[in-house]
Amino acid sequence: MAAITLIEAVNKAMAYEMGVDEEVVILGEDVGANGGVFRATDGLQQKFGDKRVIDTPLAESMIAGVSIGMAAQGMKPVAEIQFMGFIFPAVDQIICHAARMRNRTRGRIHLPMVIRAPFGGGIHAPEHHSESTEAIFAHIPGLKVVIPSNPSRAYGLMLAAIRDPDPVIFLEPKRVYRIEKHEIEDNGEEYPLGMCFVDREGTDITLISWGAMLHETKQAAEKLAAEGISAEVIDVATVSPLDIDTILESVEKTGRACIVQEAPKAGALGSEIAAEIAEKGVMNLLAPIGRVSGYDTVMPYYRLEKQYMPKVEHIVEEAKRIVEYR
């Protein structure tokens, strides 16, 4: 057992599955000798050869489209989009085909494929390297959208994503790629998709987050505890389809909810969670539902990046406002 980072966990999960299932292949830009610009595929081409770890031409629609064709033949492509900001040329293939092939053919063709992409801000990267656009994919029926927040979940959820018979968009919060290490046994054990994780139990307020922001959210919960406020923390993990039951249960208990996300606020995933609470759990609420969020503006270049990102103190502040609401 070794202590590994989130990105190493992604790497290990892919390596594990390639070792036991020869249908699994990796493709993308610079995934080969270079091991990916973040090293997610480091060493995999050396280990599995360039037939199974394939450097593609520079074309994202192609990467998605070719993966669809391969998956239809029963292979299990794990495609990398170098940054989520470059996934848009592939959106047509993902939305119009990957998400629909099983339904369109009434089950005759299904697509066991994964599209991985690092996402989110906070690493001082150039434009288009820092956005959080998970809401776009979470709105599309037929897709699963998974966001691990730590190394263990990255390992377990990636295995589940590869084994899933349907397309999974696997978004990796690159800001926390190397922020913490977990002891992980490389035993091929998956975590279930479609399930929230309750990361901290509490009674006064439910803080709901996913990906990198979960780290700020947990720190906020610590600070709140120091001030006598007991926060429950939920890692959504599979942002679509949403495990709303776990969230509703928690909110029923705490009576208060605050969603923490990095994306621009309008029409983000947080809106969906809030809407579900407002539809199904609103009468348990002791206060309005809060959303600590990125602003409704373009993710700025990195000099102003910090000004854009939600911070621990913003979460604490909002949580307190909600808890103190009368």
Partner: protein, 358 residues
Amino acid sequence: MTTVAKFEINYLQFMDENGTFISKQVPPQFAQDIDTVKSLYRDMCLIRVLDQKAYALQRTGKMGTYPAATGQEAVGVGFGSAMTKDDVLVPYYRGQAAMIQHGVLMEEVLLYWGGDERGCDYKVAKQDFPIAVPIATQLLHAAGIAKAMQMRGEKRCVFTEIGEGGTSEGDFYEALNVAGIWNLGVVFVINNNQWAISVPSEIQTNCETYAQKAIAAGIECIQVDGNDIIAVKEASEKAAEKARNGGGPTVIECISLRLCDHTTADDATRYRPEGELDEGWKKEPILRLRKYLESKKAWSEADEEKMKKELAEEVQTAVDNYLNTAVDSPAAMFDNLYAELPERTLAQRELALARGAK
């Protein structure tokens, strides 16, 4: 300046509009077998009958928007007949000729355009892709399928079809490029019917030929007379043979003409120049093959009558099967969304069933 690369585009035609072999090239083996030629003729006629029937169904409210392939039967039947069962077809929406050649049932085609997903659940052509409505996207699927075949060392190939207008999409080029560099066994058939709805080929691209677009991907190409099924089939068989044996991709441009509206939703009189259709009907693929058969004394008016009757019956059976397929349950909207429907959506399924029952 020095010249560092040279290319030329060749054109293949065996038979002219009078059904006469005009090429100096020896006609291919299959063209010398009169039964094969007869069966190609019959298959083209079937598509024409089917299209006419579908058109009539649409006009009487029994069918949705339908894209006929009138005048382009030699393209689909030609390359479709070059495929083996093990090959995979990735069609476009005007692809019924090739689809039916490759085992898709007529009633499936009708059910599809009749607005029912079950029309994509092919009973026979199990691996063939359903029609891709978003133009050019399907070419990338073809490349992916061929990649899987290549990785597994299979001697199969993939055929995919696209209209000449569709070649303007980025996906068209991305597919050619990846097929080129990975040496994939794909045959890209361009049905150059000279119109993309109302947009004539002259304002679609500045190329003299559509075949030459293959040069951008470093792959082989050929232009053929798309009204000459002998040429279409011959080029397709060569390309398929090459593809199955690791020789890589080919682009085949077939020059045809759309002798119908774009679809039943279109009215081509709004944009089509006078006289084009009259000229077109003189060159169309079915008539010339009939002339050839007649010139060989292999076809009579009686044969024609008999065949027409058979085809009408065949098509009618498919139509009956289509019309007798009851509308699916609202549950069908949910049951193949994922392998397993998420909890949350299950409740919606119940709701849909309850609402539907009212």
